[in-house]
């Protein structure tokens, strides 16, 4: 009877990923403090051992072989045969990286990189035996492909900066350009992922960059030893065989461990959760429709019906909260990966940096979590590169030689905040001001810190004295801000010269539901995100001034450009309602016909259901079944011309 075991592959892959995370976590902990207990060394060994055992059973021979070599090294480590020197830790981390790449290859049914695995085995073996602890640096050939929406000299400039970025870290060997796709073959020690990260700094949304490992010869499948079994009754083993070797580990203990939560959790496909969220969205819409029909009923005569509807409404809200909760993941899961990034980046730059994390349990929607990884990576790199001084400089400034970067997360009033704080040199106010003047950026006479530090988020702005491999290419912080804005987030900076910089990201709790203000514009209802509305003001026609064909009003001690959302609002002589909206440092008054109310709305993507429409970030279905567009305040404020034409019209 043939038994198909491929059905367990997914489960096996997840398991390997968990063991790899364990290996990386412990290796990094040992790097910081090698005085770990036997239990820790055991756990490290067992992670590799488990991968080996399972990969053999499921027929993943390359992984079984590679983990066999890693297991031997970890066994020597727990037996005390070798010490956790930085070389040993580096070998373990390299094994982790290669195994992770191999896992990714398995998952996507791609061939394993036999060459890399061979080098890994050589290195692990050498590290264990101490023969030649340094395996030769393996060079890989990567193919970089760039397609860009830019034309002519802009395209050439982008390609040149990409070429420079690549040239700084690797040999660029062949370049081919058919005017559509630019293709380069690059040889160096860096992994594809690393190259992709570096190119983030030279590109933005206009450019599409693909980096992939050049195809290698398919590995020869190597059969594993035939399986064997035996029984002790009929077996030849003499009782005189060598006694078990002394292990660093103590006898197996029955110490209960909290970390194995396997029995109380299940794995669920994210698609199933998303389907639930969609259904809850529909339920909220139906609920709102029900609510508005019931509102017309006589309260006394239909008391029971109304109170049942009230309970239903409450449970609907609870169900929504609970379902959204399923998608929430602790941010610690992404903080953990920064230990590695900080270690590697600091070492590349000859700096000493300790990473602290706080608020690891703070939960964030899975989708949001994924979209903050890139901005966070960029900010942490920046902090190490520009914030933290070299050990000599730090000592001269009376600081400890090792710098500290703290990643902290916390939840406050419906938002999640993530802070990246360093104790480095701080942002040089005067230099930013000088740079801003050179770049023709208008600053007020006595600019506030907010105003000055805000400049670093403008496109093309950089004060970096040296262009390093990592950052300071003058693109970056604006990308961070744009990425955050795209998910409804916000970024601000605090910095004190000599004492350090804190960058604070503010994120919504979820991407799927928005606290909205519904407003009437002509015959349409539109939704404004409440987070971007500062206040509403009532205007009479005489309050509105016009300069250079642009309407504005006096607002507090400044002026506020007005955006008329409909012709009615523009032409009527009566009173208007203007909503003061702000995004980043821009503000404007949106003049609407009326404010209808406040709702939680379920965001439906326009791209997915219709097409992208400038000025709107999405749509929602109202209780009465009609569709309302959600205004994209950022797009409206930055469209440049606060005129009638620039405004999305209700149609």
């Amino acid at each position: 009877m043939p038994i198909d075991i491929s059905r367990f592959h997914e489960s096996f892959f997840d398991e390997v990923a968990e063991h790899l995370a364990t290996i990386e976590r412990i290796a990094l902990a040992l790097d910081a403090d090698p005085h770990a207990d036997a239990e820790t060394y055991d756990e490290l060994f067992r992670a590799a051992h488990s991968i080996k055992g399972a990969s053999g059973i499921f027929g993943f021979a390359e992984m079984a072989e590679a983990t066999h070599a890693l297991e031997a090294l970890l066994d020597a480590l727990r037996n005390g045969a070798i010490e956790p020197t930085s070389d040993v830790i580096a070998a373990i981390l390299e094994a982790h990286d290669e195994l992770r790449a191999l896992l990714a290859a398995y998952r996507s049914h791609e061939p394993a990189n036999a060459d890399a695995l061979h080098h890994l085995r050589v290195r692990l073996e050498a590290t264990r035996t101490g023969a030649n602890a340094r395996a030769p640096v393996r060079e890989r050939r990567l193919i970089v492909r760039v397609r860009t929406a830019r034309r002519d000299h802009e395209r050439a400039a982008t390609l040149a900066s990409i070429r420079d970025a690549l040239g700084a870290i690797a040999r660029v060997e062949e370049i081919a350009d058919d005017g559509e796709t630019w293709r380069a073959s690059v040889v160096g020690a860096h992994a594809a992922e690393r190259l992709r990260e570096i190119l983030l700094f030279a590109t933005d949304d206009h450019d599409r960059v693909d980096v992939e490992e050049a195809a290698e010869a398919a590995p020869e499948p190597k059969p594993l030893d035939a399986s064997a079994f035996g029984f002790f009754d009929d077996d030849e083993t003499a009782a005189t065989t060598a006694p078990p070797t002394e292990h660093r580990s103590t006898a197996p203990t029955a110490r209960a461990r909290g970390e194995n939560a396997e029995g109380s959790s299940i794995r669920v496909d994210v698609k199933k959760v998303d389907q639930l969220i969609d259904l809850v969205g529909e339920m909220l819409i139906a609920q709102a429709a029900l609510q508005s029909s019931l509102a017309e009923l006589d309260e006394v005569r239909h008391q029971e019906l109304l109170s049942a509807a009230e309970r239903l409404s409450r449970y609907t809200r609870d169900v929504r909260e609970a379902v959204m909760g399923v998608r929430m993941l602790p941010i610690g899961s992404i903080f953990a990966r920064f230990h590695r990034l900080v270690r590697d980046t600091a070492r590349d730059l000859g700096k000493s940096v300790t990473l602290q994390t706080g608020g690891d349990d703070t939960e964030l929607d899975k989708g949001l979590l994924e979209s903050v990884i890139d901005p966070l990576t960029h900010l942490v790199r920046n902090a190490i590169d520009h914030g933290i001084e070299s050990p000599d400089e730090r000592i001269a400034a009376g600081k400890p030689a090792a710098g500290t970067i703290a990643l902290r997360a916390y939840e406050r009033s419906g938002n999640v905040y993530i802070e990246i704080a360093d104790d480095g040199r701080g942002i040089d106010r005067d230099r930013v001001m000088a740079r801003a003047r050179d770049a023709g950026i208008a600053l007020s006479d006595d600019p506030s810190d907010d105003e000055i530090f805000g400049c670093i988020f403008l496109p093309g702005f950089s004060t970096a004295a040296s262009v390093t491999e990592l950052s300071g290419r003058g693109v970056g912080m604006d990308v961070v801000r744009r990425n955050l804005a795209a998910i409804g987030g916000h970024v601000d900076v605090e910095s004190a010269a000599g004492a350090g910089t804190t960058i604070r990201l503010r994120l919504p709790l979820t991407l799927a539901i928005l606290d909205g203000l519904s407003v009437r514009v002509g015959d349409e209802t539109m939704i404004l995100p409440i987070a971007s509305v500062r206040e509403s003001i009532v205007l009479s026609a005489s309050d509105v001034h016009v300069a250079a064909d642009r309407p504005f009003i006096a607002y507090r001690d400044t002026t506020l450009p007005l955006i008329f959302m409909s012709d009615d609002a523009r032409t009527s002589d009566g009173e208007h309602v203007a909503l003061v909206v702000e995004h980043d440092r821009l503000a404007g008054g949106l003049v609407v016909d009326a404010i209808e109310g406040q709702h939680q709305v379920v965001i439906k993507s326009l791209e997915a259901n219709f097409r992208r429409v400038e000025g709107y970030s999405g749509a929602t279905v109202l209780g009465n079944g009609r569709v309302a567009l959600i205004l994209d305040v950022n797009a409206i404020l930055t469209s440049g011309s606060f005129g009638h034409e620039a405004v999305p019209k209700a149609s």
Partner: protein
């Protein structure tokens, strides 16, 4: 129906063993390490035990040693699934009175052949 206890800290291996054994008409109880297996064994007996060696909390040798101390399990076939068939392993397996050993990786058919030979 005969019941087999399978003990392994790897969920995918456990699932695979269970599936294989179940498809041959046996009933299966799973435990994720030796300690959990011992707890399960407090309340009931099994016709056969398949256990991994290297596990957190209590490993395969420890589990077999303790099971053999219990009269109910003194004659139960217990197979140790191990990644290496070294002399050391065999000596330790014999010392705790395991019935036999099987080297990982094994294929499902070999596993069934071993089970059928021991408990039919």
């Amino acid at each position: 129906m005969k019941t087999i206890l399978t003990v392994d800290d790897s969920p995918s291996v456990r699932q695979m063993v269970s599936y294989t054994v179940r498809s041959a008409g046996y009933d299966v109880i799973e435990a994720k390490d030796g300690a959990e297996a011992l707890e399960l064994a407090q309340g009931r007996s099994f016709d056969m035990v398949l256990t991994d060696q290297n596990m957190p909390r209590l490993d395969g040798f420890g589990l077999i040693g303790q099971l053999r101390n219990d009269p109910r399990f003194s004659a139960t076939p217990i197979i140790m699934l191990t990644t290496e068939a070294s002399d050391e392993m065999k000596a330790r397996g014999k010392a705790v009175r395991a019935t036999g050993w099987m080297v990982k990786p094994f294929d499902p058919d070999t596993l069934l052949a071993v089970i059928q030979r021991l408990i039919g």
